[in-house]
Symmetry: C2
Subunit: 334 residues, 2 copies
């Protein structure tokens, strides 16, 4: 059945049912809901002194291509990119509002898969989808707003980096770019490699537990890697009014990328984007404590330096290297 046959209120009913049937009801987020889906607005109880909110959208043919991502993966990813922004502040995400615009010809089963994907990630992260909106449009556009909590009005910010801080990233970078390349060019790898690359691009796992842990350990500067390492580090340097030196030989690039993209892996790591890892800066002592507290890789890739907000990339011998990829701009060609 097509969405145009369901009509607006049939579609809202389908979405509501999908969310309610699949959502975890044993979370704090669920227990604090006063009014959920189906009224003019959602209402929840919350005693936290500080609140966090962000919004991000995914537009068909700009952010995703339905030939290489399933609806279920798309639902996961649309929520993930928002959770990642909340995590980058050190906040615990709690509620999401989902605004969906789709052409009337969209299959209702696809919408169900979309919300199943979203709810799957929401359940993993203790988040509840508390409301939203539907509309028709020419392209599929999913806009999500996520609200999170902070125990005090202190958050990690882009402006918190200080000269002498180490520059650190969680996990691996470049996997999403490898996934995109594999999917676009129908490249063939082993089953496990294919799955690793595909999931990195289509179902990124936001650092929802790591973000608040960083804040707890007094990390004060962070950003998530969405536009690409170089571009996001640039944002951080500009906001903090500092420069950066990074060592390209220290980038945490997964061995399977080095093996399969031996000529491009540095560019994928520096400019690929959409890894949704956290990039943060702090002192060496805190980094050491984090290595034992976080279950993901924690890699020092460089140092914050005084000067203009510029990034120097060097190799292990300290020699400067030139870099091509500078990240993603929606309105300009790469």
């Amino acid at each position: 059945m097509k969405v145009s046959d369901l009509g607006e209120f049939g579609l809202i009913g389908l979405i509501r049912d999908t969310i309610e049937k699949n959502s975890s009801v044993s979370t704090d987020a669920f227990r604090d809901i006063v009014i959920g889906i189906g009224d003019d607005a959602a209402v929840w109880k919350c005693e936290s002194p500080a609140h966090v909110a962000t919004t991000d959208c995914m537009v068909e043919d700009i952010h995703f291509d339905l030939d290489i991502i399933t609806w279920e993966e798309l639902g996961h990813k649309a929520l993930a990119v928002n959770l990642s922004d909340v995590a980058a502040m050190g906040s615990v995400p709690k509620y999401a509002l989902v605004s969906l615009s789709v052409p009337g010809k969209t299959e209702s089963g696809d919408i169900e898969q979309l919300y199943r994907g979203m709810v799957g990630l929401a359940n993993q992260t203790g988040v509840y989808i508390i409301g939203g909106n539907v509309s028709s449009s020419n392209q599929v556009i999913i806009t999500i707003a996520v609200f999170g909590l902070l125990k005090s009005p202190v958050a990690m910010t882009r402006s918190g980096a200080r000269v002498g801080d180490q520059i650190v990233v969680t996990g691996y970078i470049g996997l999403s770019a490898a996934g995109l390349k594999m999917l676009h060019h129908s490249l063939k790898f082993t089953h496990d490699t294919t799955r690793l690359f595909r999931e990195a691009h289509n179902k990124p796992v936001p650092r929802v537990t790591e973000g608040p842990t960083l804040l707890l350990y007094d990390v004060r500067a962070a950003i998530d890697i969405s536009d690409g390492l170089m571009a996001d580090l640039q944002h951080l340097c500009e906001a903090s009014k500092v420069g950066a030196v990074i060592n390209q030989d220290k980038l945490p690039v997964h061995p399977l990328i080095k093996k399969n993209f031996s000529r491009e892996y540095i560019d994928m790591a520096l400019g690929g984007g959409e890894d949704y890892e956290l990039l943060f800066t702090t002192n060496g002592q805190i980094v050491e404590r984090l290595r034992t507290s976080l279950s993901c890789p924690v890699t020092v890739i460089g140092e914050i330096v005084a000067g203009k907000p510029e990034i120097a990339v060097v190799d292990s011998k300290g020699n400067p290297v030139s870099v091509e990829s500078r990240g993603w701009d929606h309105f300009k060609a790469k």
Copy 2:
């Protein structure tokens, strides 16, 4: 200059400047901001025990036509429809996140006007635009999420209507439909009438102060009139599991609509939608107290009755009348 020439970060800069230069900085909302536009997420301080959030979007050619609405009006309206939802819960709106998708060929001056319109209404209502997102797309799509406060976890809901309650509306209904008809068909009226109709459709004023006042006076059932009186009353009856009888001769139709649309004004009032007035139900005693507390018209149009969630429309003699307009469905033809 076109948005594609500005690029994503140039566009974000333009939007940020427009918001910061034009926003009122003497509000509680401004003072409580910890981190505003420009980081991964916004952070604010807030001690309220209950929080309200909603999202709504406006899609080009579905919700608006740039031939009959200016960019400044569009900005106002996109925020207004969200503030109206928050008001319908009895909540005071505080912050907004704005996600904007536009074609690259859009003029940067138009974007500036869009945000000027939004900030104009935000200033009038004590709201601060605290963040957002931009992306390219084929159509203009503006998705806003608004957060509000409640002094306790009690809100007005669609499900709060009780048998015997009076059905009440604020202000006038049908003005927005009159405006839409005038603009679409280039109808000519006097200057003042043209302005009244145009502003009703293009710059609706959400009942931001009236909503919290209703809640303060113990009103427990409300909805805003976005889809149309009949459709929204139907939503309320379904959620409350009650029926309704309304008297079409009591509808608060502005004299200038009766005069200029003498054959259609009942349909405009019952089905037109987008008036963003509040429809609420409560007892007669509270209605009398509200008449002196609210500065807008407060009109009893009918009564909540036991039975199926159906609406009977009668005339002043109590005779049933048939009704054509049942409201708006984005995915189905009217």
